[in-house]
Amino acid sequence: MPSEFGLFVSTDVSKCSGCKACEMACFQSHNVKRNNVGKTVGTISVPVTPKLYVTVIETASMPVQCKHCENSPCKAVCKQNAIRKVGAQVVVDENKCIGCKDCLVACPFGAITLLPFYACGKQVTQADSGDGKVAASKCDLCFEDPAGPACIRVCPNEALHLTDVNEERKQKNIAAAEALAVINAGSPERRLL
């Protein structure tokens, strides 16, 4: 059954090695049709443009990616209606994007940046000048791929997982409820009515 709220990919920071396999897989899965990018290096004919962004500090690393917010600030500010919901997921239509940067600024997570995009091995260009276009680029949860998010599948350390807050909540609630039985048993005096 479809989820009521947007699913998103979360990282277990203790497992991420910063290898960027996720970025490669993301780029590949979004360009296999339109740019014939295969699964080996020799098939890459366009610059690598992922939709999640591995961020590194001295002690940790993780890919930062869209959380598919319910009241997504990016969708709220996009005047071109280039950002829409597909089911519960938030998706950018590159062709409608005018690169105004409002969504980039609005996103509190830094999950959006502007990147060039390609079709048939060539950069998509402006209508008049022929200069290259850029568009908002962010995780779309691989919504067009029946196999689901490529990043999760490719991570060698299994550091990424798909988060459904409602499903996780059910499991957490059960554990919390069972814990209350133990907690109350430990009270020195059960309150008498």
Binding site: E70, S72, N173, I174, A177, N184
Partner: protein, 185 residues
């Protein structure tokens, strides 16, 4: 330490009156005056039933809240000894719901508030200790078996102190048993 409401599975009969009491307390009188489909029914606690347990699960107003740490929208703050979510600032990113280990935060869609693009607003919802409401937590007032209680710092300190004394006495008695010498009271 923050106070919080805690349920006891040995007293809970799973009736869910607490959930209704929560909504009625937060909505106010108008809930009974408007169209029955015109108000939000979003209890801030949920009665969970497993094979051995029936009990409400709700926010524990942690001292170092995971939800507050996860919120990038500045929507979660400590206020007068409770962890509070500011709905106006919430962008529905679900980070707090994801972060809470108890599942005490639930995402809820509001009927009477919309985003600027007209889509319904979905925000994080959790126990707010009925702060700002005249009589304090409603759930524990309506529970027919008094299964919910308001645990405050004094209660926790008293519990801990009692346990410490108990531990000391036990240890003394055990040692005396070992040495077979009578204990002076």
């Amino acid at each position: 330490m923050n106070g919080y409401v805690q349920g006891d599975p040995m007293l809970c009969i799973g009736c869910r009156t607490c959930m209704i009491g929560c909504v009625v307390a937060h909505e106010g009188r108008h809930i009974f005056e408007v169209d029955p489909d015109g108000y939000d029914f979003h209890p801030k606690l949920k009665v969970i039933k497993t094979f051995n347990v029936s009990v409400p699960v709700q926010c524990k107003h942690c001292e170092n809240p995971a939800c507050m740490a996860a919120c990038k929208s500045d929507a979660i703050h400590m206020k007068d000894g409770a962890v509070q979510i500011d709905r106006d600032k919430c962008i529905g990113c679900k980070s707090c719901a994801e972060a809470c280990p108890f599942g005490a935060v639930q995402m809820v869609t509001l009927k009477n508030e919309a985003n600027i693009d007209g889509t319904p607003k979905t925000v994080a919802n959790k126990c707010d200790l009925c702060q700002g409401l005249p009589k304090g937590p409603a759930c524990l007032r309506v529970c027919p078996t008094a299964a919910l209680r308001f645990v405050q710092e004094e209660d926790l300190n008293a519990t801990v102190q009692a346990k410490r004394l108990g531990t000391l006495k036990l240890t003394v008695a055990a040692e005396a048993q070992q040495k077979q010498t009578p204990v002076c009271k």
